[in-house]
């Protein structure tokens, strides 16, 4: 057990700074991979260390995994010295928080053996074995204990565990090939782990890929488009979540993950149809990005990023909140003890509307239903984006017809959201690992939404 120096660090750093905070984090992680029915790799790792932030004339962060006071003191001294150089030095203080929280469930990850994980993986592999040419499945879990303190007097202790499963399935037919990869994640114990849902997804993917591989490509043109929740989710994440991270808008990420199409705009800014609202909410129980307090000791809450077609709130950590003189809304996340907290998403989703699945299709004369996607990407200001359909069908006079292979939506954020004229009342989530920062930090997220109808979209 480490972390015993946290109070001493706080005292020592506090005496040498205008503001300081320290985060001690310890993790236990395990994972295994099965490839085409054969065991591939397994690993486990324990990790722990301190992240110490010092603010004077600029901000410096020291990261150390040492439990030797002299070495800890030396690295704090180094950070204090660096923080005397000129630079940005604002930080949001906010109210003092003292709390502890836990989300480790009843069926705890630490009680599960590697054998248990292998058994799950073998079962998953067997589900997809019939009809696929390539199968790779991976299961991992992570237990995290964290203590946060700052010079204002906050003290937050949090414990949680997360479980992640992902697979890639490939199907070959003559010289054609189709693939599908999906990700699933939860926060809590293994009671949250929905293996029947994963199995069903794998089984469906094999059977769908075997039909998609024979399907015709689309004749390019304009269509009404119904998108499934998986696409609503990735759109919410990429073109609502990322562009509202305020550090991007301010240019701090410009050389890395990029900026935002919202840079320089007056707010609220119209992003599309008034049918569209996008929410980011870290407090959804069981969600993969769940937390009660962020990694800067700020209480988590739901926030509207877009509301009725306009920007509403930004994702803010302590640093970016201070630049615009407002409160952090608890978006400061760090993927590991040796990473800075950045403004990040948690569960980002398009708010459901009031259309049933059938109602969305009713007056579509000539359309395409794109239920899920394969390749996707977006430019660095989160404007020019592309989603390649995986499971997709033609729609004629409100009815689903034959399959179509790899239809492509290549559009921009404003055109996409402006084309939405009906939003379904269903809501589904999928998991992902979101990357940002340097060194790159992958944080756990959910993304989701309902089915939606878009009018007159170019499909190719």
């Amino acid at each position: 057990m480490g972390g015993e120096f946290i109070d001493r660090i706080m005292e020592y750093a506090g005496q040498r700074s205008k503001y300081a905070d320290v985060r001690y984090m310890e993790t236990e992680g395990r994972g295994a991979v099965i490839r085409n029915g054969e065991f591939d790799e397994s690993a486990y790792a324990n990790d722990s260390g301190y992240a110490i932030r010092i603010l004077n004339d600029s901000i410096a962060m020291a990261y150390t995994d040492s439990e030797d006071w002299e070495r800890i003191k030396n690295i704090i001294d180094n950070a204090v010295s660096r923080s005397r150089k000129p630079g940005k030095n604002k930080i949001y203080h906010g109210k003092v928080e003292k709390a502890s929280w836990s989300e480790i469930g009843n069926d705890r990850v630490r009680d599960h053996s590697l054998e248990d994980m292998i058994k799950i993986l073998k079962e998953a592999d067997s589900v997809a074995a019939d009809g696929s040419s390539i199968r790779i499945s991976a299961l991992s879990d992570r237990y995290v204990h964290q203590i946060y303190e700052n010079t204002d007097g906050s003290h937050i202790e949090g414990t949680y565990s997360r479980i992640f499963f992902n697979y890639l399935i490939g199907v070959s037919e003559n010289d054609r090939y189709e693939q599908s990869s999906e990700e699933f994640g939860w926060t809590g114990g293994y009671e949250t782990f929905d293996f029947p849902y994963i199995s069903e997804s794998m089984r469906n993917d094999v059977s769908n890929l075997r039909e998609i591989i024979l399907a015709p490509s689309v004749e390019p043109g304009n269509f009404d488009v119904i998108i499934g929740p998986e696409i609503s989710g990735i759109v919410a994440h990429e073109s609502a979540g990322h562009p509202t991270e305020y550090d991007r808008i301010a240019g701090r990420e410009a050389a890395l993950a990029g900026e935002s199409f919202l840079t320089g705009k007056k707010f609220p800014y119209r992003i599309g149809s008034d049918k569209v609202s996008v929410i980011d909410d870290p407090t959804i129980k069981g969600s993969y990005g769940y937390y009660q307090y962020d990694d800067e000791g700020v209480h988590a809450r739901k926030r509207y990023l877009y509301r009725n077609g306009f920007t509403s709130e930004f994702l803010l950590n302590r640093e970016s909140a201070s630049w615009i003189g407002t409160e952090s809304n608890g978006s400061g996340r760090s993927s590991a003890w040796d990473m800075e907290p950045l403004a990040r998403m948690s569960t980002t989703y398009i708010e459901p509307g009031d259309y049933s699945f059938e109602e969305l299709f009713e007056d579509v004369h000539r359309g395409i239903y794109i239920k899920s996607f394969t390749e996707w990407n977006i430019d660095d200001i989160r404007f020019n984006e592309r989603y390649v359909g995986k499971e997709a069908y033609y729609i004629e006079n409100g009815d689903i017809r034959g399959r179509v292979r790899r239809p492509v939506i290549e559009t921009n954020t404003i055109k996409f959201y402006s084309a939405v004229d009906a939003v379904g009342k269903d809501l589904h989530f999928s998991a992902g690992i979101c990357g940002k920062g340097d060194p790159e930090q992958g944080v756990e997220v959910w993304m989701g939404g309902p089915h939606m109808r878009l009018r007159n979209m170019r499909i190719k």
């Binding site: 085409n36 486990y44 962060m61 054998e115 090939y177 240019g251 050389a255 996707w376 660095d380």
Partner: protein
């Protein structure tokens, strides 16, 4: 300072396991992040860790052991977990031949991140950057390896810098990296980021197939993303677009691609792989012909060949991809082009089909339309939507000059010239 006594560690491991590879990293890294002309953050890391791989028969497992852990207990724990692991059919042992490493010992060399960051900012400002952002990241690690058969150590010292500049809402980006044998001109990187922004008329991009000059960053984004196909593990898994292609022409005859971890001018250098095999310059594609996949001992024994010194014991990987330069200059490439594009950088490459290498990636930091040998337009909103095999086969020219490129997680440490790809498929947003 060594956090663990490797003799003691190997003593425990030798008694309990048939095979082991333990690598100790003692890291001292610094990074400056800056934007809008001033520092955002100074990061300082001090960490030490043991990466441990063990095998008993064909059972394998990997773990990390941190400083302060009870070593004997950690290894006992590892032994118990190994018993739970199934046999790994792809494990065929680790390299048991005695190795000679090119360099061992220590170095006092230090890259001063603070000073380099100042130089990068000054370079960008002197070249007219209206605003900029970037990082300088200096790494220093003592690396020591022990297996049953080999011991080695070296100082891994490297630095990378990236600067993105803006003028009139247009961006330019430059990067560079260096290892222990090189140096980094951060001022020049800053300058290039701004000087690369050409003042020509802005237009929406137009779809079609174009002859395209890929600058080293754009080439690096595409070709290092596609380097997964070089790994024998990917081939065995059935996901490589180079499956069953050894000895066949997979690229234009002017294309030679190496994995070169012996090049200490770049930060991707290393003297041994993760099972203690001495690294070497590996010709992967020689004048368009596929010479080898990248191997560990296990994948090599599985495929009845020799290791290339690229372990990952189960899953080999490239350390530092380099493409041979050509005989053209960039100016010639532009002036000889009747109609085409020059793409300075690209990001967010995603595959829809690993097996056939089908992907798209989003150009940024300068897409220029060339007509009759002159840069005429600055384009927005396009995407490269093509495949790795097609690009490799359609490279028609390479520049004399090449650059060491490494950028965030988009480009792994590598070295590329400018290149012309004929008939590259360009799509756009509607």
């Amino acid at each position: 300072m060594n956090m663990f006594d490797l003799d003691r560690v190997t003593g425990y491991l030798e008694k309990r396991f048939d095979e082991f590879s333990v690598i100790m990293f003692t890291n001292h890294d610094e990074q400056i992040r800056f934007s809008n002309g001033s520092r955002d953050l100074h990061n300082i890391w001090e960490e030490s860790v043991l990466n441990v791989f063990v095998a008993r028969g064909k059972r394998t497992i990997m773990t990390t052991i941190k400083e302060g852990s009870d070593l004997e207990k950690s290894i006992e724990n590892l032994s118990k977990r190994l018993d739970q692991a199934p046999e790994n059919p792809l494990f065929f042992g680790i390299n048991d031949r005695k190795q000679n490493y090119a360099i061992s010992g220590s170095s006092d060399m230090v890259f001063d991140a603070d000073n380099l960051a100042d130089q990068a900012i000054n370079g960008a400002e002197d070249a007219g950057s209206e605003r900029m952002a970037g990082i300088v990241y200096a790494m220093r690690s003592r690396v020591e390896i022990a297996t049953r058969y080999n011991r080695g150590n070296y100082d891994s010292i490297g630095v990378e810098a990236v600067v993105r500049s803006f003028k009139n809402d247009r961006s330019g980006q430059a990067c560079g990296h260096s290892g222990i044998g090189g140096k980094l001109d951060a001022y020049a990187i800053g300058r290039r980021s701004a000087e690369g922004i050409r003042n020509v008329e802005r237009h929406e991009g137009r779809e079609g197939r174009y002859d395209v000059i890929l600058a080293p960053m754009a080439a690096g984004n595409i070709l290092t993303s596609g380097s997964y196909a070089f790994s024998a593990h990917t081939v065995i898994s059935g996901l490589s677009y180079l499956q069953d292609m050894i000895g066949k022409q997979v690229a234009s005859p002017i294309v030679s691609i190496y994995d070169d971890p012996t090049d200490t001018m770049g930060m991707g250098y290393r003297f041994f792989d993760e099972e203690g095999t001495a690294t070497q310059r590996v010709p992967i594609i020689d004048h368009g012909s596929l010479k080898t996949y990248l191997h560990s001992t296990s994948t090599a024994r599985y495929m009845k060949t020799e290791t290339t010194g690229n372990a990952g014991i189960i899953s080999p990987e490239a350390w530092q991809i380099e493409m041979s330069a050509g005989d053209r200059t960039l100016d010639d490439m532009i002036s000889d082009m009747h109609e085409g594009l020059m793409i300075m950088n690209s990001w967010y490459l995603r595959f829809q089909d690993y097996r056939n290498g089908v992907f798209s990636t989003v150009p940024r930091d300068g897409v220029y339309y060339i007509r009759n040998g002159e840069i005429k337009e600055y384009w927005d909103g396009i995407r490269i939507s093509d495949s790795m095999p097609s690009i490799l086969k359609n490279i028609s020219a390479l520049s004399k000059e090449s650059e060491y490129v490494k950028w965030w997680n988009e480009i792994s440490p590598s070295r590329f010239p400018y290149m012309i790809v004929n008939g590259l498929n360009v799509t756009k947003s509607h």
